[in-house]
């Protein structure tokens, strides 16, 4: 069984500095989104439990060929990539289209894993879109996976409860960040990563036009400003009154 993990290349957020309220991305090395790393760890644990191959899929700029070594060092067996310098800030429908084409190249797929959201835009759309394109079942908010022959028992972490579902394979699962702690790649694996097999596709092979309005343009990435009311009170009674008036508490 092949376990596919989709991972998105993003700048290493720990090294991004803010200048004039804008992120400075110059010289910041690329890495993968942190929940994507949880998804990869999930795949590696599934492989350790039941065998199979872990295949990373990703679409991005040419630098991705180097970035993917991080996933291969962490234990992925193989990578399928679409590389093109035009693939920066692409919109999730385009990503989904490209990744779905990559998935079609892979045989004997059991599980396709995604992080719940990417490390940059966090739209959370690509997983469900791909399930739709490929006509596969999709389960979101996954916090635990148990393999059961031709299906999986999946726990979903919902706001005030957990839901347990069974789903036939192949299936798309999008996982939560707290599902595991990704392993630290060993130096030996890091040095072997470059030698692992990679399948590389061009955008033309997929027949997609990247020109036009299929890019995401970030207008502002600032948190909305909260105006504080700064109400002054003299005693407990006034405080209660103020809280009642503001609707914070009720009688």
């Amino acid at each position: 069984m092949n376990i596919v993990v989709a991972m998105k290349q993003i700048p290493d957020l720990q090294q991004v500095r803010i200048r004039n309220r804008q992120p400075v991305l110059d010289g910041v090395p690329m890495t993968f989104g942190s929940i994507d790393k949880n998804a990869l760890e999930t795949a590696l644990q599934l492989k350790e439990a039941a065998g199979g191959n872990v295949i990373v899929i990703s679409a991005g700029t040419e630098e991705l060929e180097d970035t993917v070594k991080e996933a291969l060092a962490a234990g992925a067996d193989e990578a399928y990539l679409v590389l093109d310098d035009e693939l920066e800030n692409i919109e999730s429908s385009v990503s989904a289209h490209l990744l779905a084409e990559l998935i079609k190249q892979i045989e004997n797929i059991g599980i396709i894993l995604f992080g719940e959201g990417s490390g940059d835009n966090y739209s959370g759309q690509v997983g469900p879109r791909i399930a739709e394109i490929l006509g596969l079942p999709e389960v979101g908010y996954v916090c635990d996976i148990e393999l059961e022959d031709s299906r999986v028992k999946v726990t979903r972490s919902l706001e005030d409860c957990e839901e347990i579902v069974r789903v036939n394979l192949p299936a798309v699962l999008t996982i939560m960040a707290d599902i595991n702690e990704p392993r630290i790649p060993s130096v030996t694996q890091i040095l072997k990563a470059g030698k692992k097999p990679k399948q590389i596709l061009e955008v033309e092979d997929i027949g997609l036009d990247l020109k036009g309005d299929k890019k995401i343009i970030t207008l502002s990435s600032l948190a909305p400003e909260n105006k504080r009311k700064q109400i002054t009170v003299k005693n407990g009674e006034e405080l209660v009154d103020a809280l009642l008036t503001e609707g914070v508490i009720r009688r």
Partner: protein, 377 residues
């Protein structure tokens, strides 16, 4: 000319940083108090390939070369100077054996270290000093053995089983050679550990060798190669020291920079003061200079066939980086004021660690004579 880490080196740096922050940082106070590197840290380093970075893969090492070694060790030492010395001495022992050892010696001692449970040591220094010309420890040939006698001072990692490369004088010829002694063999004993000011964690003691029997096959190199072995050991040790104290500088930089932004004086962070800002810039410049020299010596070690030739460059790098670390710690301490003196603040440990660098692996004075001899020859 390229001034950029490869992707692989970038990932080695990340692995070392992540491991140091996750697994070593929470134990730093314990390492200081108990003055030993915990077993779980040693195992973690071994599993991740961080213990034997430059050792060839066929002996169980990571095969990351000395470039990989300096980049990785910098990050480990940034979190703990003691762990830095511990790992550096492992490198020193394995490199000395890798350069001058026979295939059997490498197979046994390198594999036993990288894949087994051994931790190597190298014993040069004696109560009279670290200068090889005044060694008093003797090796007397007796059939197919040498008999070693003497006292070694300030030796690291003596408490672990594994090989110790002992430099001794041949009782008959007066020539100096390295001999591999299995620690805790008959006649091997150690003192109580020295309680040093800084870089705590790496166990340091004296070693007493009393009629220690070493098979002839455990001599490193041929009898007339001893001086070359010594030069290689001296060069390698300095590469390790440079990486450790580069990590120390980076730690001081991180601490001082963050503190300058967090410490509020009359409603504003102290980073508003030009004098504080200048201090931070001085530290940053010194870090960059030390980094260039350290990474370069890693490059040279990977690209110089005769490692004995590295003596001068490694000495210059080690003097510069360790003295810079002391300078940087002093500047960083000034950014902190009294808080930096307190044990609760990392800065106090970084300062104590920095002081150690120039006094070990050859003092700066001694090393300058080595460099000068080379320059005026």
């Amino acid at each position: 000319m390229e001034f950029k880490l490869s992707k692989e080196q970038e990932l080695i740096q990340k692995t070392a940083k992540e491991y140091a922050e996750k697994a070593i940082e929470p134990l730093v106070n314990q390492i200081e108090d108990e003055n030993r590197v915990p077993d779980e840290v040693i195992e973690g380093l071994r599993e991740l390939g961080l213990l034997c970075l430059p050792v060839e893969e066929k002996y169980g090492g990571a095969g990351a070369g000395f470039e990989g070694f300096v980049v990785g060790l910098e990050q480990l030492a940034r979190v703990s100077g003691g762990v830095g010395i511990f790992v550096s001495v492992v490198m020193l022992g394995t490199s000395t054996i890798a350069v001058h050892g026979t295939e059997e010696q490498k197979e046994k001692y390198l594999t036993g270290t990288c894949k087994g449970s051994w931790i190597p040591s190298v014993a040069m220094t004696e109560p009279d000093g670290a200068d090889p010309r005044m060694l008093k420890t003797t090796a007397k040939k007796d059939g197919d053995h040498f008999i070693l006698n003497g006292t070694k001072r300030f030796i690291t990692n003596t408490n672990f089983a594994g090989p110790m490369v002992v430099f001794a004088k041949d009782a008959d010829t007066g020539r100096i050679n390295g001999y591999i002694v299995d620690k805790f063999c008959e006649g091997y004993s150690i003192s109580e550990p020295w309680d040093k000011l800084g870089s705590k964690g790496a166990f340091l003691s004296d070693v007493y060798l009393k009629d220690v029997k070493v098979p002839v096959s455990n001599m490193l190199g041929t009898p007339d190669e001893g001086f070359q072995t010594l030069k290689v050991t001296m060069a390698m040790g300095k590469i390790g020291l440079s990486a450790i104290y580069l990590g120390n500088i980076l730690a001081a930089y991180d601490e001082a920079f963050n503190y300058s932004k967090d410490r509020i004086y009359l409603g504003k962070p102290i980073s508003q003061f030009e004098s504080v800002r200048n201090s931070i810039v001085d530290i940053a410049m010194k870090y960059e200079a030390a980094k260039l020299m350290t990474y370069r010596i890693g490059y040279l070690a990977d690209n110089t066939a005769n490692k004995a030739k590295l003596v001068k460059d490694s000495a210059m790098t080690k003097i510069f980086v360790t003295e810079t670390a002391v300078d940087v710690s002093r500047i960083a301490m000034n950014v902190f004021g009294s808080y930096g003196l307190m044990k609760d603040y990392k800065m106090s440990r970084i300062y104590r660690d920095a002081i150690v660098g120039p006094q070990i692996e050859g003092t700066a004075n001694l090393l300058k004579t080595v460099v000068a001899t080379d320059m005026y020859k």
